[in-house]
Symmetry: C2
Subunit: 425 residues, 2 copies
């Protein structure tokens, strides 16, 4: 029998609404798991167990509030919460509380979620890591930046972790932790109350262990209806795009991509390598130019007032950003807009892009925590993306594959991704 | 002789850096004008004259800090400031201070600006007006939402007012106040520390009395180099787009557009009405769908916790937003992206779009404050836009024309707009 903390969010809601358990029992099961494992994993930046139980009790005492009734959710610590501090992963903001909720937190509460606590994010949602360790091997990192949410969900501390992605901040930690990590089409989910890192790509995402929970979250937050499941005999058309970074990937990543491709072909799917991919060859450089310029400008306040309290690698990165000319940034934005329009046309022929989620297995703890070269370009295209667990590397750590969909077609994308996942598992 | 408060920002910087005057003298001149006129105009939400003078003295005591050295700037009260409260135009946030600067405020300070005070914005940057009156006739509104900045600049209280535009919030108040109002290409200027209204179109802009000051601001904030002035004998190619709202415009607006068109033709410019414009016919509806859905979702916290302190019209608008389906919103986003790509191609043939800035003269004080139907579609296209003063209506109030440029080509756009303005004046 499964412990309550191991249930999917969908199962939690079903169990509570059919009186098989209470929100309090689910929350207590999650808290018990956290108490047991948190010293090793370090998923949380802030946790008040008593307050979490209190939220669950309020839910149990009232009517069913919404699609997430009684579901404990870990919140990446870059979303403001009126009842918990928000650090943005920076010591500058230790104890910070603006006294209000990010819009998405209110939407979660309205849907009946238990705001379990704040999960560790890297500094300013960028690359300098927090304390979180990989549940599959605590000598390894989870990658950045949604590290606490990814580790917590992978380690059965909660069914859902709220995340964000600007480069690869949802997909990559999910890949390294062996779970599902979904980022939405850019701009659909409210980022009010989210500290911007680079607004050109900042996007809300979340990590889950079960595909159905992604659709549940979209229903709860946006009112989006799930697309009907794709029939077994109507396979999606898949574009395999290795990208110009293919040779940077570890052999196991090559193997997993080939295995998945072959498996999907065996299930009747077309898997082709379209020529269009070459247009993306230098797109990572475009993404980096935009990121450097924007990060340096958008964090102007911290740079000016608290520079010495920013980690040295991030300071160096910001200094590079200040050297990036506006002309270079502007040209990168023009390139990005043109490539977005061209990329969209790819989906006249294909339903999904298949590509690596990361270079390989999670690196050993420390800095750097790995490369986002397989993620940045897709984030800049504003596409929905997802990591699906798809294998294991030589060190016993998870390997994922990444699917990319058509912008603003997220519900169909999730249905297509579910079809793929069913053929991987 | 001009009073110091009547100088352009460009002239202020020149005067201070050549020791013709001090930043303190300029600031005092602005404050004297404010003291005289503020009871009638109501441009400011927050003003501390002593503190403004103190900022100017610090600048005078040090080296030249940047491109805006000693320029007093009024800040629309939707940008966070660590040293002044930020109300977002809502009584919910009376006295609110998050203890930090919006990124753009830090960039202004770094460039040497005096943060003069916070100017009145409509409630949550939307349509419920603040106290500001039109300097040309105080029985009339300025339009929304950058109302304090527009009135203050028009009334010689300061040379520059920081603004934003999501629908028509910069262009329309500028038109009604007879000054230049420029909104940048969406996404270029940092919105960190700006309360989002509808992130799909929220954009930084500013109001000025002189074209050169717009380029000065872009240099100070982004490091953007101004484009060379367009030669007199190389006129821009102009697309006159009347839009499906043309018949909503007052006769004087029709007359001014015709006069400007004829004047530009007389100066050698091609002014044509391209067929492409029909694509935009229902684009205002698309913009309204996006605005309703996003505003309702992005202000979820205030809706949930302080609903009774939101103005009734805005509450009604949010209630409509909650009735807007995700499917309708999603389709509107798909339409917007497709139209953006098509609109961009128009600029292979034309340099500028010419179109009305507003229906006509500013309405009498009260609610509603006028329509943004001539602005919303361009904001959704993410284009740069500008109001140029171009005439006077039957009530003696200003009439403007609106120019729209190619996304991410703002510096050339401003040079082209300057060419046009020179032929209007």
């Amino acid at each position: 029998m499964m412990d309550l903390n191991e249930l999917s969010a969908t199962a939690v809601v079903a169990a509570i609404t059919s009186n098989d358990c209470t929100a309090e029992e689910v929350t207590r099961a999650c808290l018990a798991r956290i108490e047991e494992r948190e010293p090793e994993i370090g998923a949380f930046e802030y946790l008040d167990p008593t307050y979490a139980i209190e939220q669950a009790r309020v839910l149990d005492a009232g009517p069913v509030r919404g699609a997430l009734h009684g579901v404990p959710i870990g919140i990446k610590d870059c979303f403001e919460t009126f009842d918990m501090p928000t650090t943005f992963g920076s010591e500058i903001y230790a104890g910070n509380n603006t006294g209000r909720d990010a819009a998405i937190i209110t939407l979660l509460r309205n849907a009946g979620a238990v705001i379990l606590g704040k999960t560790v994010t890297s500094e300013f949602i960028a690359f300098w890591p927090g304390k979180t360790r990989n549940p599959h091997n605590t000598a390894h990192t989870t990658g950045v930046s949604s590290m606490g949410s990814a580790a917590g969900v992978a380690d059965m501390m909660m069914p859902i972790g709220l995340a964000t992605q600007s480069g690869g901040s949802t997909v990559r930690p999910a890949a390294h932790c062996g779970i599902i990590g979904y980022k939405s089409s850019h701009g659909e989910m409210p980022t009010d109350g989210l500290m911007p890192m680079q607004a050109s790509t900042d996007t809300v995402g979340f990590v889950v262990r079960h595909m159905a929970d992604a659709a549940l979250m979209r229903k709860a937050l946006l009112g989006a209806e799930p697309a009907p499941p794709r029939p077994a005999d109507a396979p999606p058309r898949i574009a395999l795009i290795r990208t110009s970074h293919w040779e940077e990937a570890d052999p196991v990543t090559h193997t997993v991509i080939e295995n998945v491709s072959n498996g999907l072909r065996g299930a009747g799917a077309i898997v082709e390598e379209p020529a269009m991919a070459s247009r993306l060859d230098n797109f990572t450089d475009v993404a980096i130019t935009i990121q450097q310029f924007e990060f340096a400008h958008w964090r102007a306040y911290e740079w000016e007032h608290y520079r010495e309290r920013i980690s040295e690698p991030l300071r160096d990165f910001m200094a590079e950003g200040h050297k990036t000319s506006f002309a270079a940034y502007n040209q990168a934005q023009i390139d990005a807009a043109a490539t977005r329009a061209e990329f969209d046309a790819l989906f006249d022929t294909y339903d999904l892009v298949l590509t690596p989620s990361a270079v390989g297995e999670a690196l050993k703890l420390g800095y750097p925590t790995g490369s986002s070269n397989f993620n940045r370009m897709w984030s800049l295209l504003h596409s929905p993306g997802i990591n699906l667990p798809a294998g294991t590397g030589p060190q016993g750590l998870p390997i994922g594959v990444q699917l990319i969909g058509r912008k603003y077609h997220d519900d169909q994308f999730l249905a297509d991704a579910a079809w793929v996942l069913d053929r991987i598992e």
